[in-house]
Amino acid sequence: MKVTLNWIKEFLDDYNQNKISPGDFADILTMSGTEVKKIENIGSKYENIIIGKIVDFINHPSADKLSLCKVDTGTRIASIVCGAKNFKKGDIVVTALPGAVVNGMTIRENKIRGQISEGMMCSEMELGLSSDSEGIMILDESFRVGESFSKSVGLDDIVLELEVTPNRPDCLGVIGIAREISALTGIEFKIPEYDFDKRLNIDSNFIIEIEDYNLCPRYTAKIFENITNIQTPLWLRNRLLMCDIRSISLIVDLTNYIMLETGQPLHAFDKDLLYSNKIVVRRAKEDEKIKLIDDSTRILDNDMLVIADEKKAVAIAGIMGGKDTEINPDTKNILLEAANFNGPSIMRTSKKIGLRSEASNRFEKKIDPLLTLYAVGRFEDVLNKITGYGIKGCIYDNYKKTERQRNIVLRTDRVKQILGKDIDKNTISRIFTGLKIENRIRDKNIETIIPSWRYEDLEREIDLVEEIARIYGYDKFDSIPTTVTGRRGKYTGYQKAVREIRQSLCDIGLNEVINYSFCSIDTIKKFRLDLEKEYSDNVEILNPINEDFRYLRTTLLPSLLKNVRDNINHNIKDIGIFEISKIFKKRSDEDNDTLPLEINKIGVMLTGKRVQKSWSEEERNTDFYDLKGILEFIYDKYYFNSILKIEESDYKFFHPRINGSIRINGKKMGIIGKIHPLLVMEAEINQDVYYMELNLDDFVNNIRKEKKYKAITNFPSIDVDLAIVVDEEIKNDDIVSEIKKCGSSLLKDVRLFDIYRGPQIEKNKKSMAYSLNFREDSRTLKDAEVEIIVKRILENLGKKFNAKIRE
């Protein structure tokens, strides 16, 4: 919300004697909770621009389209060359003298076609007042020649852009801000006396019917007849302009002006376009249509409130007026509305039809119903001052009075308990008085009566505590250390493990990415996730930003593949990345009210070269075993005496044969494989991509890491190398577990050290060479013992896998 400093000052007595700079003013407001986002000195934009008078002019001797004017600037007569034609001798004009900045250009004395020009006469557009660039701006006789332009038209002002918090509807107008300043500085707040006819409902010439007082507690109206349709005075237009509101016509401008000043939205109907002398505030009928003044047509429903005449809706209550009854150039008689609507209802309607307005923004926050009379009166006052309308006619007011008075008792002990500081009760009392909260000190308590405009936000004792802190000043409270007895900050085991794993993966060269949790139906289909039980059941967002964000992801895979593609596009081709994030899955039961499953996953993706060509090494592309090595690395950190197995699987997004499930101690914990080459190609990636995803929750919660000391023995071990020839299909895992089974407790380690395929052995066979390490912890092992075991191993391998020893 924007307000101007001069406007606020109208409600502060003797403000100028207090010598508060605009900057300090802004600070005071900011430090009271109404943040000043921006301060703009409007007056400084109009320096060296003054009111001038054209005393004479002739055609430019050497240019048909230009005139050479003599302009009285108050101190002298200046020669100015002008391109416009819309003036005559004696016109009052806006004159930019050398040094002025107009449209971003500094005005200088110069020669135009041989004639000296000592300034420029400005159009409204050049002055930033409107889009009117047709000719220069001509002012009426009331302006004094030589005066500063900005001062003459109310632009010598400071605009403050405020952020009013939603709990302070009373601050949505100039008056509210003035009241705050008064409480904060002690400068006296005053509302000038207004002239208006205060009589209420003296006749029943106009009827206001309210269907539901819950939705509309008050509807106040006044009829103004035979209004003089003159132009909005410049000072008023400019105030609206400074507050970002476009001038439309005097009546509309006045409604906006009063709203900005009081916070009470007003609406004016062309009374002659209403069906009769009756207004009905009712719920809309289902599918009732209304065309609004923004030219949009809205279809309403029964939850929405409308203002109607006896035929049809003429406005959506509190949001926007209807086109059919809007003020137009021929309007003679108006019906002015100042109503109070139910905030939540306005908010719901505004959301539903997707239309917010200055009015709805105020009603949403529950404004004070006592404002309506005041706003109608102020309208009459200003209208009268501008047009000489007079003070006449009663106000029609339909108001179902509700309780607006609230008494709250504040315990000073409570103040100390919450704020940590003893604030003297007289100080508190003074703060309340400044806020216009009636109060009386009773022992250690202060009894208060809350004013109507704070009724909605000052409900409880704690609300008063906040008011005290706010006005007293947050900066005046000391910092008090909290005591630490009896507690100790720490990570849980789970949290620690997750952070360690993250660090470990970085330490081995992977970079951590973080992606949005969303995915699109396209992605789901492309990766055929809907066909995998583990990866289907995406949670759907009812109101996504766009289709890319419609679902929550069930796997991190597509996001990481996108990261790979994006980086390859930046010519970074050798990539190792991981992400630790939650995935989401609908629970299988039908119940819509249960929260989905959330599982922490860790996804790792590798692609490109694993070893770069260098002065000492040959380059090597990433393959499956690089990724498996990473798996084994984190597995080895956390799983002692355990079994890690990769089980062949059939995930559709993986290569049909490089496709595995990860099992640790028999429990399935993730997947590992090569991304299906077609998916990779589709993503326009020209290199193999490998991916692994672990269920981090399962992985961490099943960590097996009992630490127990075992004596180190110094008895020598015996290494035996063993090469066997087997069929291609025989898996290393099976051979190793067979070797281990026969190896007895003496076999401490089995290590595959070579695989050979080639001319020296049969086709479709491979030679696997293992190094076996034997040791007995309590004595020196004899070669003969080992020979017996190795013989047994070979026999078993022969039986089981038809393995032949390779000589």
């Binding site: 939603p166 302070r168 940590g420 609300d463 900050g489 720490k490 109101n543």
Partner: protein, 367 residues
């Protein structure tokens, strides 16, 4: 020369064989000879520069014809009473010579080895065989940094679901359905009552439901709002803090936040608390740190104010305690919340929010 001396000496011996002579004199003579042999040896050894020179010195003083060898070989020809004296003396001298030679030999060998090693030079400036460190995401590292600060102040870390119920996200946080503050949180809905959490604050309620004071927790996590433009991403990261105990007050809140801000932004920054409004705290505050670019004078980065907003905070609204069964007269507390991306931007001068989720490795690699 030695030979000559020796000969003379032996001649003398023989000549006086049967005479009783002044034994002391004889011993002195021999001692003098041994002493001078040692002096000569030491001088020559000092001048030795190579192993071959050392070899000749070695032969000269310990070889067959050396003075000491000859003396010892001929010891039997001396009077019985002189033999042990001369023998001991000669042996000791010989041992010393041998030891010195060995020492010198080791020394010279060391020098020669060193010389050989010096020929084996490599180019130390060649790059090492790569173990490249990866980078933690900036968001993770700043979260961990913040966690450590608070752990140091006795906090624990709590977490909660990202898909939440309306109850935890709004209602129990004092934000009922028609509350105006709801319009500040544009929400993604999964159903009428289930949504993507718009802040980490629901964890406050979940944690209080399950635990009794004292409560000192911080809550990191992803949150979601239906906003997507240059300054908003539909997902971002927050850290929430909650402290509830007997006698927790606004001064404690100030201390905690100031301590945090000094740790993360440095001691030189000023911290200010400014009144604000949140439905679930009262009194509420926004917290600013002084702008590091202009030092608080006002510049473009801080839009002229000299201050940069870092977080929202306040005393827990007593209404919340009713939702979780605490007695608001018995306990009090404070809460705070901040956007991690914003902290990162302020800390590292990052000017584009979208960088955080584009996962450009040229960005990730910088932190």
């Amino acid at each position: 020369m030695i030979q000559k001396l020796l000969k003379n000496w032996l001649k003398l011996q023989r000549k006086n064989l049967h005479k009783i002579m002044d034994e002391k004199e004889k011993i002195d003579d021999i001692n003098n000879l041994i002493e001078s042999e040692l002096v000569n040896f030491t001088r020559e050894l000092d001048n030795v520069k190579s192993l071959s020179e050392l070899e000749s010195v070695k032969t000269k003083y310990t070889g067959k014809k050396s003075f000491l060898t000859v003396t010892l070989r001929n010891i039997g020809s001396l009077p019985v009473q002189l033999r042990p004296i001369i023998g001991n003396k000669s042996n000791a001298a010989r041992k010393k010579i041998e030891a010195d030679i060995l020492k010198k030999e080791q020394f010279l060998k060391g020098i020669e080895y060193e010389k050989k090693l010096r020929e084996e030079s490599i180019d130390l400036s060649l790059p090492g065989r790569g173990i490249k460190a990866g980078r933690k995401n900036i968001i993770s590292s700043v979260i961990e940094e913040i966690e450590e600060i608070f752990i140091g102040m006795g906090f624990e870390i709590a977490e909660g679901p990202e898909v939440e119920t309306d109850y935890y996200n709004f209602e129990a946080l004092n934000t009922p359905a028609d509350h105006p503050a709801r319009s500040l949180h544009d929400t993604f809905f999964v159903s009428d009552s289930i949504l993507l959490r718009t802040h980490t604050s629901p964890v406050q309620i979940r944690y209080m439901e399950k635990n009794k004071p004292p409560i000192f927790i911080i809550v990191p996590g992803k949150v979601y709002r239906r906003d997507y433009d240059v300054t908003h991403t539909p997902m971002f990261t927050q850290i929430e803090g909650l402290v509830v105990d007997k006698d927790i007050n606004f001064g404690n809140l100030k201390w905690t936040i100031e301590t945090f801000a000094y740790e993360i932004f440095g001691r030189k920054r000023k911290v200010r608390f400014r009144p604000h409004y949140f439905p679930f705290t009262e009194p509420s505050a926004e917290v600013d740190v002084s702008c590091n670019i202009c030092g608080g004078k006002g510049c473009r980065s801080c839009s002229g104010s000299g201050w940069l907003e870092i977080l929202g905070a306040g005393m827990v609204d007593p209404n919340l305690y009713k939702f979780v069964g605490y007695d608001p007269e018995e306990v009090s507390g404070f809460a705070f919340g901040m956007g991690i991306e914003r902290i990162c931007m302020l800390k590292y001068g990052i000017d584009d929010l979208r960088l955080f989720f584009e996962n450009d490795l040229r960005f990730i690699d910088q932190f």
